[in-house]
Symmetry: C2
Subunit: 200 residues, 2 copies
DNA sequence: ACGCGGTACGATGTTAACAATTAACAGATG
DNA sequence: CATCTGTTAATTGTTAACATCGTACCGCGT
């Protein structure tokens, strides 16, 4: 069921994003196309594409003719504000689309939930963070929130850099399970309530 | 003072964006790298980069191995919601940063205002829309809102596709002038009030 | 010592050729 | 007749070579 990215560009993008989230690149440092290209054994093209993409996702800052810089995480003040906006967007999309969730799209959400569970069991914080976001994204997609997805991703990417969660991984899973259950019943209000309890 | 984009990629990106905003590409149609590359007299590389960028800005939808599709404008319901989020973001950033606007960054805002005025005088709606957004962006940058800029751009790009304004171009300019004036005095509250009156 | 300018190097920007993938279509097959 | 499969044309994905830009360094003149 899990779909492996096929193009080199996607693989490179995902790998670099993972490294960024794991803090393997120092904030403020410059990333070089050649270095990463040789590390992955590919040409500069896909790496370049990945840089553009990750710049737009908010992880990197692009400077023409000079390269990309690893961005710093948002400050606590902005972080709080971003959280609020995120809540608003998810609320809006779910309220509007929960009633029309199909069996098919619900399946995708369920897969995302399973993957989150696996990550929680494994206990790797950075992976959990990623799966956490992916779950929320699947919910938005299921509710037909494509129009809002881009902006939402921007906000989330900034958040991921400072992902902090209670140590209780079991609860992380439980909170998301409690989003899934009402969603499966097309119960918008309860779904939103669970989401608002989870995002904080 | 006006800064011409230097790289081919930027020029191509801007040109395609303009065409999209002017409705010269039909929503739902596919865009081909070769066709646009030959039209601009450049190779596929920069066009490809532009496609990635514009996909992330929300104008195009990217399908691996198949190309990019011109996206449809947001429906009225989403449009209303997006407007509200935009207001919130601009309010947040200005409230936080209006007091630390430098002479230098204010100059950029002023240039943006002049360009908007020129567009209003000329009376070309699509150009006005672009300059309108650029003005707001310059305000955000001046207030140090880099962290929020990506998400904000996403939202605006969706809006631009359905840009509707009163026919009174002079008033469009006036409204923005009234944002600029308090900003120059580092008056956050009045600036925000003017912004909220303008975004609707 | 300090400032200035030229030069060399390393990086990104761009290009064109080649590889891989997709979708449509024709023909075989049941 | 419907369906499956192999072919083909068109398009995107990837690569490596070349062009251009920015920076650091070094020598020169003051």
């Amino acid at each position: 069921m899990s779909i492996q990215p096929k193009t080199v560009r996607e693989q490179v993008t995902n790998q670099i994003r993972d490294d960024l989230l794991s803090g393997r690149f120092e904030a403020g440092s410059m990333l070089r196309e050649i270095e990463l290209a040789s590390r992955f054994g590919v040409s500069r093209g896909p790496v370049r594409d990945a840089f553009i993409q990750l710049s737009h996702e908010g992880y990197l800052a692009y400077y023409a003719n000079r390269g990309v810089m690893v961005r710093h995480p948002p400050n606590p003040e902005d972080r709080k504000f971003i959280t609020a906006i995120r809540q608003d967007i998810e609320t809006h999309v779910v309220m509007k689309g929960a009633s029309q969730v199909t069996e098919e799209s619900l399946k995708v959400v369920e897969v995302a939930l399973d993957r989150l569970k696996a990550a929680c069991d494994a206990g790797k914080a950075t992976v959990i963070a990623l799966r956490d976001v992916e779950f929320h994204e699947s919910v938005l997609v299921a509710c037909g929130g494509d129009d809002m997805l881009g902006a939402w991703r921007q906000l989330c990417s900034r958040m991921l850099l400072t992902y902090t969660r209670h140590e209780n991984y079991a609860q992380t899973y439980r909170e998301h399970f409690e989003i899934f259950t009402p969603l499966a019943d097309n119960d918008a209000k309860s779904t939103v309530a669970a989401i608002r309890a989870n995002i904080r």
